[in-house]
Structures are given as C-alpha cells and as structure tokens.
Amino acid sequence: MTDVARLSRRDWQVHPPYLHEAYLSTTLRAPRQSLLHLDPEAAELTGPVFGPEAVGPGDADLTLNAGTGGRAIGQRIMVTGRVLEDDGRPVANALIEIWQANAAGRYRHQQDDGCAPLDPNFIGGGRVLTDTNGDYRFTSIHPGAYPWRNHHNAWRPSHIHLSIFGSSFPSRLVTQMYFPGDPLLPLDPIFNSVPCERGRELLIARYDHDVTEPGLALGYRFDIVLRGRDETPMETPR
C-alpha cells in the first residue's frame, strides 16, 4: 500500500451549476456539453507561487489604499480568517485578491452606471497574503447593496469578492463573502445558485466580537476551504 497524492475533486454538491436560470446571464454562458473527465494523473498539480512581492504596503487596507490621504466613507470592518485545504491543512502564502462596491453600493468601474455616488477615497480593490498558519486579515468598509438588471427590483446583497490561489492551479477559487442577517440573501439568485444549505452558510461571514477592534472597526470571520490533497491508498503491484 502506498499513498498517492492527488487533488480532491470539485465538490458539485456545494459548487453552483454552470446553468442557473434565475441568474439570467448564465443562460448563454453556461457550457452545455458535459465536462470531459481528466485522469487525475494528468491533473496539473503545480501552480503559480506568490510571495511577499505580490503584495505592497497598504494593499490590505482598503479604507486608505486610494492614496489620497483621506479615509473611505462607511462602516469600517476587519475581515479575517484562514485559508485551508479540504483535508484541513492551512495554505501559507496564498494570494487573496479583493474587490467590492463602496458604502453607497457603487463600483469604481466605467461599466457601473448606477446612480449612487463614488467615494474619492475608495478604490475598492486590495490584496493580502496568508501567513504561515494560513491566516489573513484585511480592513475595509461595509459594502452597500446595489440594484442590478437581472429581474424586476433586483438588488445584490452586500458582498465582497475574493479570489484565492491555492497550492495548485486546479485549486483556484473565486467566491463572494456575504454578511450575516442580510434580508436580501433569500432573494439573490447568485447566492442561491449554491445548491445546498451548508454551502450557502459557508459564504456568510460570522460576526466575531473578538475580531472587532475597540473604537475602530467591526470584526468578521470568513474561512475559505480549497480543494486539497486526496490521499487515496492504492494497491501497487510488486
């Protein structure tokens, strides 16, 4: 018997399907042919490696990184958590890229033609690397909800986009972090594209008063679980 390191499969019990008709943009962008199964031996188990040079000073403080000298408007928040593989191992030096709307629900992007105001002191983008324990922490403001055109009176719940590089290329993940108690969550087709309750719960950050900084910022905890090694015992011929 020997242990063969392989990557665990994508868990389709928790990941959304490509086609989720309530989210209209999926209807012409979802592949319709079945995915071609790749032999795990052929899976690419390497991936880009990021170090401290990927993240500059101030990248993890979105309230200040517009570089104007002014602070972003909004309820200041701290977001912290761990990046783990699904076998429980922490992922060190994982690059997390962050983007979000401002406190009024507007993105600083030329395609966002919403009527909410821009904040000159807020870009809405940031970066952070996990430490050797897989822990990360960034500072931002609570993003506003905003209307979108998916259906009548459609509003996205407050959310922060997170992009994460794990230890291999297939462990790549892009997700969205939501906030507890948001009344828009049951109405949002993107959040509800996640097919199981347990998966949806994992996308909602937990308010943690121990993370809250007195006089400064409300604290939220959001752990992220990537595909990891699947050590399957294999019979080897002698």
Binding site: R10, R29, A30, L36, H37, Q111, H161, S193
Partner: protein, 159 residues
C-alpha cells in the same frame, strides 16, 4: 480526517478588473524558457455567437509561468509568451458561477500526437483546443477562440 466542505464558487461579476487587473499580466516573462516567442489571440463567444466583453482568462504552464488577460469590449484577448507544449487555461466571466478549465495547444506542435489529454478528446471536438498558427509580419500568432456554449463549444474539463 473528515474532509472540510469546500467553499462554493461564485461569479467574478462584471467589475473584476478592480481586483484582478491591477497590472498587465498578459506578457509572460520566462526569460530563460525554451521555445519561440509567440502571440496567442482570440475572442470569447457566448451561446448566441456574441462576443463576451467581461471575461478573463488565466494561463499556466510550469515551464513558462502565469498569465492573465481580460477581454476587451469586443471580446478579444491576447497573450505574448514563449511557447510551451500547451497552456492550462481557466475561463472566468460574469454569468459563469464556476470557472471553466480548458487547455490551448498549438497547431504545429509535433508533441500533440503523443499528448494523452488531447488524444482523449473526441476528434470532432479536438480542434476547439488548438490555436491555429498564422505568421503575421514574420511573427507567429496562434488564433484561438473560446465558445462557451453551442456549435463548436470549447471542450472544458472536469478537473
């Protein structure tokens, strides 16, 4: 140990460039990499044959490195790189709740005939993974379009 539940994927949405396109990353360095310098370019199409202006591709090969390119308003993308045998590719877009894994191979690459992954693809769909070489002003350019859905749908992998 009991496995943890994977965090579900969500779409990058339309405004990903704020977080993901801070630098231009579509020129892959790899000064020491073997292989000629080439361009890979194409258009991402949806199921109605319309270009997708808010998609992003990431490419990776261990000998070359990592690259990333967003599509422009015409759905076009471009990479400048040394040429590996193939690139692993991830496709992200507004309207894609989960990213899609594919590969791009090169039409004049002799090793294609021995590549187990490429040879495992239905011959009728194999061309969707192959960039076709053209020489423009003496420079090799591989034309590779991605069709997310419908006729000529690109082969995506359950990887």
């Amino acid at each position: 140990m009991k496995p943890l539940v994977q965090t579900p994927s969500q779409t990058v949405g339309p405004f990903f460039s704020i977080g993901l396109c801070r630098e231009h990353q579509n020129v892959l360095a790899a000064r020491d990499a073997a292989g000629e310098r080439v361009r890979i370019e194409g258009i991402v199409f949806d199921g109605a044959r319309a270009p997708v202006p808010d998609a992003m591709l990431e490419v990776w090969h261990p000998s070359i490195g990592f690259g990333r390119a967003a599509t422009n308003p015409h759905g076009e993308f471009r990479f400048e790189t040394a040429r590996p045998p193939y690139f692993n590719v991830i496709v992200f877009a507004r309207g894609m709740l989960v990213h899609a894994f594919t590969r791009v191979y090169f039409s004049d690459e002799a090793r294609n005939a021995d590549d187990a992954v490429l040879q495992s693809v239905d011959p009728a769909r194999r061309a969707t993974l192959i960039g076709e070489r053209e020489d423009l002003d003496g420079r090799p350019v591989y034309q590779w379009n991605i069709r997310l859905q419908g006729d000529g749908e690109t082969v995506f992998f359950d990887l």
